[in-house]
Symmetry: C2
Subunit: 74 residues, 2 copies
């Protein structure tokens, strides 16, 4: 979901961290983390949790920006 990736990228930038640094801390591949940030992945709970830990955040913080309902585009 795009909103998740955008929020993740913003939280990472706030911390002045590279994709590589966060990926290594999370035990994920940098290419995978990049695709998550671009909204190309339906990321699993376990990986959400790993990414949150790598950013020093509770997992819920990564989902705070998600809209409650998907807007339908025509």
């Amino acid at each position: 979901m795009a909103a998740f990736g955008t929020a993740l990228r913003e939280l990472r930038h706030d911390r002045l961290l590279t994709i590589e640094a966060v990926a290594e801390a999370a035990g994920l591949h940098p290419n995978y983390l990049g695709s998550v940030e671009r909204g190309e992945r339906n990321v699993s709970l376990f990986n959400i949790w790993r990414i949150a830990n790598a950013l020093g955040l509770p997992a819920a913080a990564l989902l705070d920006e998600l809209p409650p309902r998907k807007v339908k585009h025509s």
Copy 2:
């Protein structure tokens, strides 16, 4: 993750909703939702979001109970 399933079951019980009712509102199979509640699934972000909507909650609320770090059992 077990903590997610436990939190989900509690939130569902608080609302006096059956697995079947939440599954139908979320567009998921009741058997799948049951396995999520038992902690047998590494649920995806999209399904977290669908379940949260079915409960009338923001997605982040379902992750509030997750521990920041996994406790290692010997």
